[in-house]
Structures are given as structure tokens and as C-alpha cells.
Amino acid sequence: MSLLKLYFRSPSAIIGLLLLLLVLAMAATADWFYPRDPLALAGRPLLWPFTNPRFLLGTDNSGRDIAAQIFHGARISLLIGVVATVISIMIGITIGAFAGYYGGWVDTALMRVTEAFQTLPNFILLLVLVAVFGSTITTVTVAIGIVSWPASARLTRAEFLSLRSREFVQAGRTLGLKDAKLIFGEILPNALPPVIVYASVVMAVAILLESALAFLKLSDPNVASWGNLIGAGRDVLRVQWYVSAIPGVAILITVLAVSLVGQGLNDALNPRLKGR
């Protein structure tokens, strides 16, 4: 059965894909629906949702349109999620591949570094990085990528460890293949599927990390981030709780979508594990 067909066998995977498409659509149409700067003053502050047709989701404590911030925030969340994930997975694969393939002292050294990154609480490292390099969207994205690679490195290493002694790799070696060819041509394509599935976890965590950072007012204040809005809403939490509640739902849906898609991919790639 084709991968696509296997994927669409699971209802939760379909829901995940639909939710993800919804968030993508929001990101894509943000400029079209809300061409103005979402952080600019738009109207009276603290309008409740559904009370004014111009501001469907109301306004926050600075009089900015919440709906506009949600739409534009989808862009930021997805952008940060995807870029940070790519950075983290690339670092993880490289380190994991070399450690797993070569073993010996290369493995020991690389795993020491990985352990160091796992021993230091990732959010504290993130705080340090932001404190040192500042909170622009670029530094925040790169910093999130840097703190979240160790797990994918471990995963890649484990795959490489089990694959490198597999007979087809040994056969490649007896044919005279060079190390680089063995790593990238023979082992990596076989090690990739679980790592790609894991990328969905990394992306979910990346989105959550950015929102937490923004909530603490340590992310880029000049972009419409959902976390920023939750942080702003905290000041008026007692009465106008919707300011914080609405962007939280947006994050929830996005992370849920990414997780469901990842799970669906996993089930499609390992049909053996499904339904037993």
C-alpha cells in the first residue's frame, strides 16, 4: 500500500492534516485579510470578542486587533517552528551519524557534548542565549534550534549503530565503498524515517518554546507572536481573560496539528505497530 493511502487510513491523522492546513491558510491569507500592521493601534482597547464586527475577536489592552495578531502570529509560529526544526535536525543528524558510524573516541567525544546539552536545562540555556545575543526573531529561532538537537542526535546515533553492522552495509564495504558513500548513500536513507517523524516532536516543542519565551517578554517584541499576546493579556487576566485565552487556543491547535500529523506519519511508516 502506498504511504499516502496508509496515512489516510487513520482519522486522527486526517484531522491533524486539516488543522495544519487551517493554520497554513491563516498564515497565507494574513496579509490579505489584515494588510495593516497587526501591532498598530486599531481601535478602542479591551473590546470583547463578537461585540464589534470590525474586530471579530476583540482588541487587546493596547487596542490592537486580536484577530489580526492571530493570523499574523500563525506565520511567526510556523516560520520559527520550521526553521528551528531544520536547524536542530541538521545538527542532530550530523552529530548522530558521525558518532554512530565511527564509534570509538569520536562517539565518546560527541556524546559528551550531547550529554552536556541534555544536562543543562534547555530553557535555561535558551535564556542564556537570548540574554547574550538579544531577542530578534533570527536569534530566537537559531537559539531554539541550538537547544533542541540532542534528542535527534541520539535517535540518529541509535539508528546508525544498529544499521552499520547490518549486512547490507558490510556488503557495501566489501564492494569498496568509501565512508562518505556508506554514511550518506547507504545508511542515512534507512535511518531517516524515524528522524523525520521525530521532527514533528521537535517542531511542536519549538513552537511551545518560542511562545514561552514571548510570554516572558524575551522574544522579539516587534513581531505578532501568540506568546507575546498571552503575556500582554496577563495584565488584564482578572476580567478580560479572553486576551490570553484566544492566542492560547491558537497555539494548542497548531501544536496538536503538528503532533497528529507526526503520529499519522509514524503509523503509516510502521504499519506493523498500528492496530495491534
Binding site: E167, F168, G172, T174, L175, G176, L177, N190, R276
Partner: protein, 540 residues
């Protein structure tokens, strides 16, 4: 004799989308007390499913959909799950193929045997402890008092299987189902376990349903035989009658595929050596901290052998004998520690990695596992052409050559576009052979090339290998644990034990008149040895 267990036209259906609709169709069998019935067949014949159906331990989606399973007159197919649980273990007990995975790794042997009593009896803790000890003594496990407290990983394969047998026989079941209980074991251990099962069965009068793929084992142990194919019993009868005078064409074909133990008359061989193994050693050091408490394993210890041009040198031994390590040293997958490996006069052992990469075209390897040895993400043709491309042949030319090689190993040249999973096990092994032959090597190192194959497929691959050897003038190093296979393909043989070579020489001499005690023990352990020798007489 009245049968204890009767299968009456039992059918088991498979879930939709399986390769056939029924795992078992109208299977009728019976076992009486004090009798061993061997159910024999190749993989996919439904023989293991028979065992699972009797125990009603079928995987999800698989269900009995016809017939009766009568145990002491009661139809097990119809009883409640609670009733069935009372039968399992107490009435019908079971032992499995892989004693390592069949035991819980986190609990002691004694604990797991005691559980049998805890489930089915009201015995006190102390009574159970004495019974467990007595059982372990009965299965002749060394140091039973210690074995009670041992975890599965602390025992050897044979000891684990003894513990499994002790567990199965704890409550003196009327029926014992043994599902390939010796397949994962070495030949000498297998002989001991077979003897133990036979002995216990005689003493207790147990009815044994013994599932196996190996006609040697059948000849060794069976009172009666049922041959299965495609979920059906094609022939059953008294063991000697079925073995000596098979009626069904499928049985005949299966028995004909079992290689006889006696070597064919020797082929004329030159004396010019092509590969010389000279005092090769490889040791492994494990554990230990800064040199303290280190364990040293001599995987290969000072082995010297000569392979004459055009000859086939068999290296036989049990697991842990170092035969595979030696094979991997020859192609430098493992770097030997000392000694020389001279191929056409050039010492491979001292080459740098770069030099060895160039030298690989003269010595190639065929691997054991037809599934693991082919990269699942490359097309078959590409796999065969890969070596040529690495060594400088243009891609299109290499792919064309791959098609020729496919024809050479008896595969359809049009199949080069398919992926490995689209081929059967035997076909994959042919692809592996084509890949190794693509570089036109002088020496082929074959590491258990047929051990993972069913006996009829095995015969075909061996025949192909013999043909190619003749046609291409190949010199082969053939690693195997199966002495029957060795007898058929090898000119010379070396017997290895714990890393050392104990005996070597022309195969007819070594097998006909073994000098070393270990070689003698090895040959004596082969199940159905007399059967194998008798068959040789027929063939001759």
C-alpha cells in the same frame, strides 16, 4: 492406543489481505500418550499455526473457523476462555524456539517455573521451592540450586531450553507441544536436548507434538510424521515409512532436498594456492576500566589454512567458534591482529583501508541473511551494479552488466528494476551472489549463504553455486554450521572450536575418519545421522 489430542478437520482463517485465506485447512491429526508426532514443513506451511491453534493463542485477526480440537475427548475450540486457561500449562504445555526471548528477562528462572504451580495448584511456597529444584535436577541443568536464582541472560542457550522444558513439564501435562525447540541451538546442544525430550517423554508417557523443519530431527525423534504444505497435511504415517518410502510428491521432493551426509567422490584439485591464511589471530577485549578486570576473548586464535585455486574450503563450527570472524577478517571487515592473509601472493592483512578498497575486486563476500544483506532502498540492478561503478565502470555499462549477471544466477534480467522486498528469500540470495560475482573476484567468501533458506530453496542455491564454481573457476571459502551442506559443496574442510582450528583436511577424510574428539562429537550429534548415511547409499 487411544489418542489424547485429536485435530479433526481444523481450519484457521487469516485476516483479509494475507497471502492466502486459511493458515490451516482441514487439518486432521492425532497424538496418543507415549508418542512423538513430528509435524514437518517449510516456512509458511502452517505448522506453527497448528500449535497456536491448539493452545488457542492465535494472533489478532486469526481465528479457528471449522473443525474440532479434542483434548481428552473435550472440544477445545468451543470451551470458555477460563476453561482454556486451566488446560494451558496443566493439560497441554508448550516449549518454544527461542529460549532467550521466551523467558522474561527480568525474573529469575526459579520464579518463572514456580509460577506454574502458583497458577494451577495450592501448594505452599516451600513445597513449590522443592518441586522447582527437583524439576531442574530432572532436566539435568548444571548446578540447579544456582540456576533457580539465575536470570535468563546468565544461562547458556541449552540451559535456558532445559529450564523451559522443566517449566513445561512442571505439572506433568498429558501433551507437550514443542515448536522448533532446537532450531536456535548448536548441533551438539541440539542432540542433548532431543535426547532429554525423548527421555522425559518415555518416562512420563507424555504425548509430544513436535514441530520442526528438519528431516534429520524427524528421523532422530519421531514415532509418526505429518508433512504439511500450504496449510494442509499432505501425508502422515509411521516415521520410518514416510522417511524411507514417501508417497506424496511434495514429501519426496523435500526429502530429496536434504543433503546426504557423506561427501561425493573428491574432485581433482591443483596444488597452487590462491589464498593462504597464515597464523591469523583476532582477540576482543571487553569491559574493564583502565585495564583492570578486562575480559579477553580469542575469537580467532592462530589459524593457518590454504585454499588451492579452484577449490572450496569449508570452515565449520558451532556459534562462537570464530568461523564468521575469520571470514570477516579475510575481506577486512574486521582487522586481524596478527598473521598474514595472502591473496595471489599479496598480504591483505597489512593493507591500508584505501589499498584494501582497491583490492576488494579480487575477493568478495556473500552474506547469510537474504533480508538484511540487501539495502531495501535500492533497486536490485543497482545493488548488483554498485561494485562495478565504485571500481570505475560507467553507470550505464554497469547496469547492462547487472542484467547479464541476473541471467547468470538464474533470475529474470527484466527484474533489475524491482526492489529487494519484491523477491523471495532464495531470489534475494541469488542477487547477493550476482553482486559478489559482478567484480569477477578470484575468491568468494560465503558466510552461511544458505542457512536462512528453506531446504528445497537451499538445494537450488547450492546447485547454482556448484555450477558457477565449475563455469567460472571460482575458489570459495564456505562458512557453515551445517555439516550436511559442507559435505556436499566442500573439497576441503576445517573444523573450528572456540577460535581454534582443531582439524583440517579433505572433506571425505575428515568426515569419514575424524581424528579430533570434537569433530567426532560434532558428527555424532547430527540428528538423523544414520538416515543421512542410508540415503547416501541409495543415491550412490
Amino acid at each position: 492406543m487411544t489418542p489424547i489430542l485429536v485435530l479433526d478437520t481444523v481450519s484457521v482463517k487469516l485476516p483479509e489481505g494475507a497471502d492466502r485465506s486459511h493458515a490451516m485447512s482441514d487439518v486432521t491429526l492425532s497424538v496418543a500418550a507415549n508418542e512423538i508426532l513430528c509435524v514437518v514443513g517449510e516456512s509458511g506451511s502452517g505448522k506453527s499455526m497448528t500449535a497456536n491453534a491448539i493452545m488457542r493463542l492465535l494472533p489478532g485477526g486469526v481465528a479457528i473457523d471449522g473443525g474440532r480440537i479434542l483434548f481428552e475427548g473435550r472440544d477445545l475450540a468451543g470451551v470458555s476462555e477460563a476453561e482454556m486457561r486451566k488446560v494451558r500449562g496443566a493439560g497441554i504445555a508448550m516449549i518454544f524456539q527461542e529460549p532467550m526471548t521466551a523467558l522474561n528477562p527480568l525474573r529469575t528462572i526459579g520464579d518463572q517455573i514456580a509460577e506454574m504451580f502458583e497458577i494451577h495448584t495450592d501448594l505452599s511456597k516451600r513445597e513449590i521451592a522443592t518441586r522447582v529444584l527437583a524439576l531442574l535436577e530432572e532436566v539435568r541443568i548444571p548446578d540447579p540450586a544456582l540456576a533457580i536464582k539465575a536470570y535468563p541472560h546468565e544461562l547458556s542457550g541449552g540451559q535456558r531450553q532445559r529450564a523451559m522444558i522443566a517449566m513445561a513439564l512442571a505439572l506433568d501435562p498429558r501433551v507437550l507441544i514443542a515448536d522448533e525447540p532446537t532450531t536456535a541451538l548448536d548441533v551438539t546442544t541440539q542432540a542433548q536436548i532431543l535426547e532429554l525430550i525423548r527421555d522425559l517423554q518415555k518416562r512420563k508417557g507424555t504425548a509430544v507434538l513436535f514441530i520442526t523443519h528438519d528431516f534429520g530431527v524427524v528421523a532422530e525423534i519421531a514415532d509418526r510424521v505429518a508433512v504439511m504444505s500450504q496449510g494442509r497435511v499432505v501425508e502422515q504415517g509411521v516415521a520410518s515409512a514416510v522417511l524411507e518410502n514417501p508417497q506424496h510428491a511434495y514429501t519426496r521432493q523435500l526429502i530429496a532436498a536434504v543433503p546426504p551426509l557423506k561427501a561425493p567422490p573428491p574432485r581433482p584439485l591443483g596444488t597452487e594456492p590462491i589464498l593462504t591464511i597464515d597464523h591469523v589471530s583476532k582477540t576482543y577485549r571487553t569491559g574493564g576500566f583502565l585495564g583492570r578486570g578486562q575480559r579477553v576473548t580469542h575469537a580467532v586464535k592462530d589459524v593457518s589454512l590454504v585454499l588451492p585455486k579452484g577449490g572450496t574450503l569449508g570452515i565449520v563450527g558451532e556459534s562462537g567458534s570464530g568461523k564468521s570472524t575469520l571470514a570477516r577478517c579475510l575481506v577486512r571487515l574486521i582487522d586481524p591482529e596478527s598473521g598474514e592473509i595472502r591473496l595471489n601472493g599479496r598480504d591483505l592483512a597489512c593493507l591500508t583501508r584505501e589499498e584494501m578498497r582497491a583490492e576488494t575486486r579480487h575477493i568478495q563476500m556473500v552474506f547469510q541473511d537474504p533480508f538484511a544483506s540487501l539495502n531495501p532502498r535500492r533497486k536490485a540492478g543497482e545493488l548488483v551494479a554498485q561494485g562495478l561503478i565504485v571500481h570505475g565502470t560507467a553507470r550505464s555499462e554497469a547496469l547492462a552488466r547487472a542484467k547479464e549477471l541476473f541471467a547468470l544466477v538464474g533470475l529474470d534480467p527484466a527484474a533489475t528494476d524491482r526492489y529487494p522486498h519484491e523477491f523471495s528469500g532464495g531470489q534475494r540470495q541469488r542477487i547477493g551472489l550476482a553482486r559478489a560475482l559482478a567484480l569477477e573476484p578470484d575468491v568468494l567468501v560465503a558466510d552461511e549463504p544458505v542457512s536462512a533458506l528453506d531446504v528445497s530453496v537451499q538445494a537450488q542455491v547450492l546447485k547454482l553455486l556448484a555450477e558457477l564454481r565449475q563455469r567460472l573457476g571460482l575458489s570459495i571459502v564456505f562458512i557453515t554450521h551445517d555439516l550436511r551442506v559442507a559435505a556436499q559443496v566442500c573439497d576441503l574442510v576445517a573444523v573450528m572450536k572456540s577460535g581454534e582450528m582443531v582439524e583440517a583436511g579433505p572433506i571425505g577424510e575428515v568426515f569419514g575418519n575424524p581424528q579430533h574428539a570434537y569433530t567426532q562429537a560434532l558428527l555424532a550429534s547430527i540428528p538423523g545421522r544414520d538416515f543421512g548415511l542410508r540415503r547416501q547409499a541409495e543415491v550412490a
